[in-house]
């Protein structure tokens, strides 16, 4: 436990140690970015029954490095209508805060580097987490300016959307971490990690047991709101509306090419790594070993914690990728409504509930179990009642429609929403040739007799259903053996 650094330990390093740490943080972020890109492509490929990149380097793990190098040798285009200085600076403005934000993340306890004891963290300050927030506030500029300076319609629309989205979800993110500060009593990241150390002794009416002290467990609502908010904040799927490919091409960086584009890409992934690291720090115990490992005494000293920390970050990155592989993109109105009408009020109510419970338990000197029963339950009951009433009220039309459908009406919603849909000009829209495209009541369902090609990984190359038109991703064997057929 005495490895745990305090605020007084920072700002004491000799200059070369500071240099090593700076370069270390920079290199870590670049490597994590390269890794995250390959990791994402491989994981998504696996989720989609593909192989993913497997050509460059061992098992394809150098693919993103090759891509990055390739980008450097692409033509750098400055659009004719671009606002030159701003177009030039926007990638820089996007990149710098992305790197700076990571500086307050604690990577480990005090370690010894070349004989010097030093915390494995670049800086820490009483305002710790606020540095991350300030940097994410600055990161919006890179996007807004990049889109604006391109002098093109898609990027401008993309950047406006993106900025509106980032600021909306920044509110939810800012509110979600208030409860963490409330519990930890500090905003310094190393202090928050230290506050999650050890077991959390719970007292439930005399029944004592040790619970985990991760804030993800103690403050689950905060954690969930944080996770959702940072996905919106980093413009990742399913909230990737600013670069919805089918609508806005690439969003704010449509006009960018070469290394300028690479910088935007880098900034996006560095931001992803940073919010993952912040999630690990604020909610998942930071660099401290998770439970089964923490039984081992040496788990929280030396360089081991760096490993636990990186594992937590990779786990968080995996969730990002998982979401992308699973969820369809939201509609813009759904997205904004969710941010402003669900996340923000939930976070506010949660903060007040937590603060009330904490204050009552402190003032009345109650045990945690008593507080949960006397304060937590009533608050939860009130919140649930309000939500129930609200949702019943807002779902009234749907309920009426459902009742009507049960009473025999085949398509209850159709008459009220049937404005003439303008089909795109002279475009010929042939009727669908095959497949029962729609269910009764409107929404389409996949055809029931859908034939799924077998997984290329499975040993059996047989189609799933008899008479399947598609067999496998394999090449058709040539009638005569050729030697030059199977490259590329």
């Amino acid at each position: 436990m005495n490895d745990s650094p305090t605020l007084a330990d920072f700002g004491q390093d000799v200059w070369w140690l500071v240099l090593i740490k700076i370069v270390g943080v920079f290199a870590l972020l670049v490597v994590m970015t390269l890794f995250a890109i390959v990791f994402e492509r491989k994981v998504v490929a696996r989720m989609q029954q593909r192989s993913g990149p497997n050509r460059v380097g061992p098992r394809g793990y150098l693919q993103s490095l090759a891509d990055g190098l390739k980008l450097a040798f692409k033509e750098d285009i400055m659009p004719a209508l671009a606002d030159r200085p701003v177009y030039f600076l926007a990638p820089v403005i996007a990149t710098i805060p992305a790197f700076l934000a990571f500086s307050v993340i604690p990577l480990g306890p005090e370690v010894s580097i070349l004989g010097q004891r030093t915390p494995l963290q670049l800086i820490d300050a009483p305002i710790g987490v606020l540095v991350v927030l300030a940097c994410s506030a600055m990161g919006v500029y890179g996007i807004v300016l990049g889109g604006w300076a391109s002098g093109s319609t898609y990027p401008l629309l993309g950047s406006l959307r993106s900025a509106a989205q980032m600021v909306s979800y920044e509110i939810a993110m800012g509110l979600s971490i208030v409860a963490v500060f409330l519990y930890a009593g500090t905003m310094s990241t190393s202090g928050i990690v230290a506050a999650q150390a050890g077991d959390n002794r719970l007292d439930f009416f005399g029944l004592q047991f040790d619970g985990p002290s991760w804030y993800a467990v103690l403050l689950p609502v905060s954690f969930i709101i944080y996770v959702i908010a940072v996905v919106g904040e980093t413009n990742r799927a399913p909230f990737d509306l600013p670069e919805a490919e089918s609508e806005l091409v690439g969003g704010f960086h449509t006009e960018y090419s070469s290394l300028k584009f690479a910088l935007f890409f880098l900034a996006e992934y560095v931001n992803m790594v940073t919010v993952s690291a912040l999630a690990a720090t604020l909610f998942l115990g930071g660099w401290r070993a998770p439970w089964p490992i923490s039984i081992w005494d040496g788990a929280n000293s030396g360089w081991w914690p760096l490993l636990w920390f990186l594992l937590k970050v990779v786990a968080a990155l995996f969730v990002f990728i998982w979401l992308r592989g699973t969820l369809p993109r939201l509609r813009y109105d759904q997205f904004m409504r969710f941010g402003w009408k669900v996340l923000v009020p939930t976070a506010l109510v949660w903060i007040l509930a937590v603060a009330t419970m904490r204050t009552v338990s402190r003032e009345a000197d109650l045990s945690s179990g008593e507080v949960a029963v006397y304060v937590g339950l009533p608050i939860a009951a009130v919140v649930l009642a309000v939500l129930l009433v609200a949702s019943r009220k807002s779902n009234e039309p749907t309920r009426i429609a459902a009742v009507a459908a049960a009473a025999g009406s085949t398509n209850p919603t159709e008459p009220e929403v049937l404005p003439p849909v303008r089909t795109g000009g002279a475009r010929h829209r042939p009727a669908q040739r095959s497949g029962p495209a729609r269910a009764e009541g409107g929404f389409p369902v996949p055809p029931m007799d859908l034939v799924v090609p077998p997984s290329p990984r499975l040993a059996s190359k047989e189609p799933v259903a008899a008479g399947a038109p598609v067999a496998s991703g394999r090449r058709r064997p040539s009638p005569t053996p050729r030697k030059d057929s199977d490259d590329a």
Partner: protein, 120 residues
Amino acid sequence: MLATYAPLVGLFVLAAGFALFSVTAAPFIGPRRYNSAKLEAYECGIEPVDQPLSGGRFPIKYYLTAMLFIVFDIEIVFLYPWAVANDQLGVFGLVEMVVFIATVFIAYAYVWRRGGLEWD
């Protein structure tokens, strides 16, 4: 005091140097093959309209979002010191924060009721 933040300056210099080097070097490393079509705004192959130049109009909705963002940002900024010092402030601190949040909630409820949070 300043020694605490000195590494931040170092990282800033490194990141800025890297980024500036990249954007400056890009035109020299890559090939340059002039083509007027490349310099036009990309609009998926159709003739580009120079909307942003001539002052394209955008939904005023974004203004409202930014304004609400400021309102809540300021609220959050007040919440942070309150949360950190919560143990010292006691019941009184809780009550005043409830009053504060309730007051801001009036603004929020007003905007909600008027339909300011709806996107169409």
